[in-house]
Amino acid sequence: MQGYLGIDVGSVSTNFIVLDDVNNNIKSSLYLRTNGQPIEAIQEGMDVVSNELGNGFKILGAGVTGSGRQLAGAIVGADAIKNEITAHAVAALTMVPDVRTILEIGGQDSKIILLRDGVVTDFAMNSVCAAGTGSFLDQQAARLKTPIEEFGELAIRSQSQVRIAGRCTVFAESDMIHKQQMGYSREDIIWGLCEALVRNYLNNVGKGKEILSTVVFQGGVAANKGIKQAFETVLETKVIVPEYYDVMGAIGAALLAKEEVALTGSTKFKGFDVMQETFLCKSFDCSGCSNNCEIIVISMGKEIVGRWGGRCDKWELS
């Protein structure tokens, strides 16, 4: 057996995926918390994935994405180091070939991607406000003392409409308390929160975007059935949540690696063995010119495996 490895290193989670090379079936999938230590998360994940695949499996290429893509790329030896937008789009296109809108909501960020005829034509990412991301729900869940995992089930059991003003988490919270005191049921309030998140998301990243079906909803928050239903209510169209909604970035990275390897004919992947090594991340300010670029260096034992951050080629190594 052989296939492609994809890794998505985000600020909240680090995800792994292995696709077989024949029909892109998923051979292994893993979702880990990054906990602010991406190197450890990558090593741990590689270990788990390698065990799961067993000895006979050959990795033909590796792709990385997410905010830690440079780092992950240096550690595993990636063929494709790509941004999240491209990775998510490629993955969604593969799962749902006629997709025209991708709604992606993660823990701390969210994006919308528009595609026409299989090509990305427009996108937006949330900038500062977290009101349209998963952390909005996390905060309210803590407030309601309800596990976030139960939110979806509770939301779709709601009987009546409660409108929660929530353009900002702080205001949503005070409004929610107000609604609680008015005696609304927990289900109704949770449904109101789901709708508020969807409205925030659409007002934030979705502003001015032409949302056409087929609509795909992915990212960690897609687990929440309430949000899915809220999207369907607001957009008046069916919303598809793909099977591997929470690791779509990693799937995209693997697919992009496949694409890259097809072009170059060989892989830079270093194998699973490197996971036993110790990696060290350092940085220094280059004094070669007045730019004073901050150069980041990743070393494995005594060997430097990755170096980037400069505006010229002087230190580049990956």
């Binding site: 491209t86 005829d117 299989g118 500062v128 080629d313």
Partner: protein
Amino acid sequence: MRKVTFPHMGTSVFIFSDLIRDLGNEPIVPLQPNKKILDLGVRYAPEFACLPFKVLLGSYLEAMERGAEVVVTSGGNGPCRAGHYGEVAQKILDSNGYKIEILVFDSVFRNPFQFIRKLNYLNKAKLSYWSIAQLIRFYWRKLQALDKLERCTHKVRPRALNKGITTKVFKQGIEWIQQSRNLGEIEEAEQQGLLALKNIPQDPDRMIIRIGIVGEIYVLLEPAVNHEIEEILGNLGAEVDRSIYLSGWAHDNTFGHKKDSLHYARPYLGTAIGGHAQEGIGHTIMYAQNGFDGVIQLAPFTCIPEIVVKTIAPRITKDYGIPILTFFLDEQTGRAGMQTRLEAFTDMLKRKKRQPLKVVGGEKYARVFGN
């Protein structure tokens, strides 16, 4: 000698500093905006002031630490807020006990006497008006040469085999221009610079996309504030063109005059509303018509004219099919987030240009993208 500073704007710094010296003052050359300057600006500026105001205020404060006594800056007559900046900065600095004089130069046509008075004040060397005119002509030529080189880097950078070399050669060219002492030497330096840039080893077969950059003048012209967006884009394989160059000259030669951009803008924005709103809209349309793949709008956060432009942008995208990506920049804008968006944008434009294979079949994991 009186110590005079001025706003930092991209590569043009040395030109203004030489001019100020020739007029008989000691120039306090402003530093490229950095963290310290931004922090100073943020501390004294109102929260909702736009980024250019914060940066300028910060750099005046920094220059004062090095002894600056006078600031020379440009004015404006509204309705963009920038026209009031000189006065507001002066009042803020006064009320915080700083001693500095901000000399605002408004259009000479609006109040010629005031303009002359300010010019005389600055003219410590007691040059004749004729000599001043000559000086301005000389430095204007330098500005043009600078812009010409910069435009050339936009073409060379995406095709260069070696990342970073373009910027290095450009810096060399800037030095040549700086050192030239008469119009003939400027001409020579310009030619030499252009040749050096053209001699950079390039990959002629590389797929290049073309991106137009429009927006507010300060964030457009100050790489330190826009995170060197042109360099990032160049390294991502995009040839860029800006709607505004300081000398204005270079642009008029490629796309016709400002008049044209206003003509195209009118159906979308019927009047001048301050800033470079109409020019931005007009240029976006002209970029679309000239086969550019995308447009990036750069604006300071809370900038009023640019908010109007962004509101109108989706309609232009719809009518002309040109993707527009907007960045509202403030002191919190991070380079990493910007890099990700720019990568995604250039990726998107490249894939679009490549016209990948149409989706075949509906099977779940079909291979859908071509190379």
